[in-house]
Amino acid sequence: MTIVPATPRMDADVLVIGSGAGGATTAAVLAEAGLDVLVVEEGEWIEQGSIVPFSLEQMDRQYRAGGVTVALGLPSIAYTEGRCAGGGTEINSGLYRRPPADVIERWTRDFDIADLDYDEVVSIAGDVEEALDVGVVPGPSTAPSDVLRRGAERLGWQHSEIPRWMKYTNGGSGQRQSMTRTYLPRAMAAGARIATGCRIDSLEMGGRTARSASTTLPDGRRGTIRFGDVFVCGGAIQSPALLQRSRIDGPIGRSLAVHPTVKLAARFADELNVPDDVAVHQVKEFAPELSFGGSASQPGLVALALSDQWATFSKAITDWRRISLYYAAITSEGRGRVRTVRGLHDPIVTYGLTRRDRALLGSGLARLTLLMLEAGAEEVYPSFRGAPIVRAPKDVATMNGSFSASKASVMTVHLCSTIPMGQDRAQCGADSFGRVHGTDNVWVNDASLLPTAPGVNPQGTVMALAIRNARRFAASGRHRG
């Protein structure tokens, strides 16, 4: 392992900012191509297994702002970002979806992306799946996951088990194949260095060229990193924020896309709660507009889900072992923005749901409630203010009548599209391979590049595109000789 201390003066041929799904793959591809790569990560390197998944301690140590980040709007949408070596791959559900063919085709057409060949994307996805040990759970799935399968089968709805990037040992539990287990060690084995606890404040531009990066070190000192090229891979919020702080113009941060979700808690006759894992089944009967799945159900999160209507839901909390949380996610037509304001350390994030989004959230919650009842839920507690306890299908209409998105706890974990890739400069902040328009050596290679929300768990798509772009960069011969 080559984890180096961040110092006031550092340099590299290629600086990679961020170490999540985009940054780790970029670093591995470039280092294996023989380039001198330095990865700078704002968070710390935390070994898997040293923290209970989905606990408040994990949120404290591996999430940005302890997991309390909000896109302002009506309603505001809570979101989370990883802030640790490996980024979001260390904290997400670990569910894997291949890049959807129709989505890649639509992006290519609507955003004028050059040379985006689906066969190449699928081939890279195959490499990723092998590297991450993507596969289904050996043996039976957990009780919360089985709820989704059972409810969908009774309703005749499409459902499936989603593969995960998890390595299973005989009789043991799974080991997440996150970036700290896979692509970061690969990058370091090929000579890449990684410095943690170091924030990049801005890129110093000289015309079209970025000359250096200004940093804040773990001890508060300021520093500088000189480089030939820079890959910005801080995720869909931090990447546009950094470019804006660096005074790089263009359509940057104006088109945030997310999969908004609403949640419910469902109580069953028997104990089923699995605090440190999530369900692997998803219900796709109404995809891509709507999909249903299971959420982390640690008791603190169950309390959170019940808190919107505590006066009537509170008694259920003592039964948390018989409760699990589920979500309905939508593909949103709304858009958000990421704005930096001089003097503020963090960007301001906003998001506006459309009328159709609001209606879809309501119908999604109603259908998810029906699914739970069909699966045998005794009581369902939808997460919005004024929600009734639902005990039978006849109550669902009443619940739906009292729902409004502005009273709901809307959340999201899939953030993307703030620097869309493509040749259409009117709507794309970066070109077809991630180079920021109007610059010579500033590249973006993370979820920001996805032109729209893909409608499925996006990590597989982010990794495939990042590897494609990094390979193209390596093949260009920059920094050789």
């Binding site: 309603p75 505001s76 603190g300 309390a303 019940l306 509170s314 909390i317 960007p347």
Partner: protein
């Protein structure tokens, strides 16, 4: 105050620990959110210092006031999450089981 209303049986030592946790988290909030929480927090403290203000503050906190209402809700939700993360067998009123 918001927590006291929801959890009358939460022992004082636990209440103090929850408040410390919320304060610690508030410091790490993103700049704009932190500013909002502190401003709204100050207004609530002023309101609660006034005669009958406590009841008004709780009523306001329960109302879906756009954006402004999100701040007390955020702080309140942190308390809920902490209590059951730390002491999963807490009763619905905050007591020990």
């Amino acid at each position: 105050m918001l927590l006291a209303d929801d959890f009358p049986d939460l022992p004082p030592d636990r209440r103090a620990e929850v408040v410390r946790f919320i304060e610690r988290r508030a410091v790490t909030l993103p700049s704009f959110t932190r500013f909002g929480v502190f401003v709204i927090g100050a207004l609530y403290r002023m309101l609660m210092a006034a005669p009958g203000g406590g009841r008004i503050a709780c009523t306001l906190a329960a109302r879906p006031i756009p954006i402004v209402g999100d701040y007390p809700r955020l702080v309140r939700s942190l308390g809920y999450a902490y209590i059951w993360d730390r002491w999963p067998d807490t009763t619905s009123t905050g007591g020990r089981r």
